[in-house]
C-alpha cells in the first residue's frame, strides 16, 4: 500500500510522461519521483521502490509488455528445456542498472526516518508469468508444465533464485534497508509443490542474500498460503511475513508472530468503501498484533478507485495508535 499507483493524480501525470510501464520502471528520475509521491502526500514511515516483479524476466531477455486492461504479456513463453537456453542470466544484473540508480537516488533523497524497501518477485510467481505468458486464475499452464517436466522447471526456478538473489543484493548495495519478496501466486500450489516451488526457492534466496548481508531484514509474502503460512514463517529464514486479507488474525498472532514480524492485512476493498467498517477492522488488527513485532499494511495492493481521503484517514488512525 505504500507504493504509488493510479489512485494518485500526481502518479497518473508522471505515468503519461513515460512511454511504456517498463520505461517508467527503468527511468531513474521518473521512478524516483513516483516513489517519493506517497511519502510527500501521506508521510508514510517507509517507502517502497517503484518497480515491478517482471523486470526480472525482462532482464533475462524475455519480452515483457503491459497491456491496458489485460495486464502483463510475456513472449515467447518458456515451455521446454530448449526455451531456457534463450535466457541470459549472465546479462541480467547489468540490464537492471537503472533500478539500482533509482535506489541510490532514493537513498540520498528520502528523509532519514523513512525506511527504504527494495523488492523482487519470488521465483514461483515470476515463473508463472514466464511459462503462462500472462496472469491467470490458477496458474494451470505453469503447474502442468512443472508436473510434466520437473527437471526443466527446476532449472528455471534455479535461474530465478540466483538472478533474484543477485538483484536483491545489488539493491542493498545501492541503499535498500529492507527487502520484500512477493509470492503472489503461492496460494495455488498443492502441498508438495508449495514445499518445492515456494518454500525452498525463497529459503535459498534468503541464504544467498544473507551470505553478503547477514543482518538485512527480509519480508516474505506467500499470498493465499492459508495454513502453510506457518511453515513459510518457520522455514524460509525470513524476518517478516506479509499476510493476505484471508488470514485470520489470531492464527497469525499465534503461529507467525512468535517467529517473525507480521505485516498486514486490511482488505484493500475495505479501504475503498471506508467509514466505520474500515475503522473498526483497523482497530481490531492493531489491537491483535500490538504486543509483538508488527507492520501495519493492506493485505494486497491498493486499487485504482481508492479515494485518497480514505488513505489519509487510515494513516491518521494507524499513526494515532502506533505513535
Amino acid at each position: 500500500m505504500r507504493q504509488a499507483g493510479r489512485y494518485l493524480p500526481e502518479y497518473r501525470e508522471v505515468r503519461q510522461q513515460a512511454g511504456t510501464f517498463l520505461d517508467l520502471c527503468y527511468s531513474p528520475d521518473l521512478a524516483t519521483e513516483v516513489t517519493l509521491q506517497p511519502i510527500r502526500r501521506f508521510g508514510f514511515d517507509a517507502s517502497i521502490l517503484f518497480s515491478d516483479i517482471l523486470v526480472i524476466p525482462d532482464a533475462l531477455g524475455q519480452k515483457v509488455e503491459f497491456k491496458e486492461n489485460i495486464g502483463p504479456v510475456l513472449s515467447p513463453i518458456i515451455r521446454s528445456a530448449a526455451d531456457l537456453d534463450r535466457l541470459r542470466p549472465d546479462e541480467a544484473i547489468d540490464r537492471l542498472g537503472p533500478v539500482f540508480q533509482t535506489v541510490r537516488n532514493l537513498s540520498s533523497s528520502l528523509p532519514k526516518d523513512v525506511t527504504l524497501i527494495g523488492f523482487a518477485g519470488a521465483p514461483w510467481t515470476v515463473a508463472t508469468y514466464m511459462v503462462g505468458g500472462e496472469g491467470s486464475r490458477d496458474q494451470a499452464d505453469t503447474r502442468l508444465w512443472a508436473y510434466a517436466e520437473p527437471a526443466a522447471f527446476e532449472q528455471l526456478i534455479e535461474t530465478l533464485v540466483d538472478t533474484t538473489a543477485a538483484y536483491l543484493v545489488a539493491q542493498v548495495d545501492a541503499g535498500a534497508e529492507v527487502l520484500q519478496l512477493f509470492d503472489t501466486w503461492a496460494g495455488s500450489l498443492p502441498e508438495r509443490e508449495f514445499e518445492r516451488w515456494c518454500i525452498a526457492p525463497v529459503a535459498q534466496i534468503v541464504k544467498q542474500v544473507r551470505a553478503k548481508y547477514p543482518a538485512i531484514p527480509i519480508i516474505g509474502f506467500p499470498r493465499g498460503a492459508g495454513l502453510r503460512y506457518a511453515d513459510f514463517a518457520q522455514r524460509t529464514g525470513v524476518n517478516g511475513v506479509s499476510i493476505d486479507v484471508t488470514v485470520p488474525l489470531d492464527f497469525a498472532k499465534n503461529t507467525i508472530q512468535p517467529n517473525c514480524a507480521v505485516q498486514g492485512n486490511l482488505d484493500p476493498l475495505l479501504l475503498v468503501s471506508g467509514g466505520a467498517a474500515m475503522t473498526q477492522e483497523v482497530a481490531r488488527i492493531l489491537q491483535t498484533f500490538d504486543d509483538g513485532p508488527f507492520i501495519f499494511n493492506l493485505g494486497h495492493g491498493i486499487v485504482p478507485q481508492t479515494p485518497i481521503d480514505h488513505v489519509a484517514a487510515l494513516v491518521d488512525q494507524v499513526k494515532g495508535v502506533k505513535g
Copy 2:
C-alpha cells in the same frame, strides 16, 4: 471428477445436439444421458447430476449465458437493493422442474449400487456471479458491494439460502441420495466475511434441508478456505468436506476427518500429466485417509485436456486399494 465433461467424446457429441449449455441442463433426456456417460465408461461408484450452479440465478430471473472461451455472463447485474426486486424467488422452484425430472430419470436408471449425488452452488459463490456478472480472479466487485451495502447483500444471500435449500430438498424428493454444496470462491473471503457469507449461509441451508430430511448426507466444498476448513467442518453441520488441491493431507486428517468425511484431493493437472507422479500421489492420499471416512476425488473439476486413459488408470488404482 465424476461429472461428464468435454474430456469425453460422447459428451461433446451430446453437447452439440443441445442449443445452449443451459438448454442441455434443462433437457431431462440429454442431461440424463450425459450424467450416465462416465458411469458406463468408468464404472464410478457414484453419479453426480449433470447441471450447473448458475441454474439458480437463471431460475430467479437473471439472464445467464455461457460464452465460448469466456465463461458465464449474467445480466443485468445485481448492484443495488432495487435490483433485488427484479428477482422472482417465488417462481424459481417451478422453473427448475426439468432438473428434478432429470433426477427422477437417473434415480430409476442408475444401477442400485451407484449413489446419486445432487448439488447446488453455495450462496456466496452464486452471488459473486450475480453481482460480478461473470467469473473473476478475486470477486472484487462482490466483496466491494458487500462492504458498501451489507444489508442489501445480506438480502441477496438470504434469497439464495431459501431458494437453494428448497432446490436441494426438491432434488431429494426426486431421488438424490447425497447433496453437495460448492462454494468455489470461498477462498477470497477475509476472516469475518468468511464467517458471514460462507459458514452462516451454508449452515442455514443444512438446517433447512435437514428439517425435511434429517438423515441426508451433505458435503460442503469451501474451495481455497485454507485453515478455515476446520471451522467449516465443525460449524456448518455438513457430514462431509471436499478439500481442494492446496490442503495438506495431515491437516485434513487431523482437523476435518474426526468430524466429517473427507473428499479429495488429487490435483486435476496431475491427472492430465499422469504417470508415476500421479500414482504416487494417489497412493499417498489413499494411505493418509484410510482409517476414517473418505471419498476419493479430485481437488477440483476435471479439465478438458485430460487423457481418458489416465482417468481409467486412476479408477483402477483407487478401486484396487479401496476394493
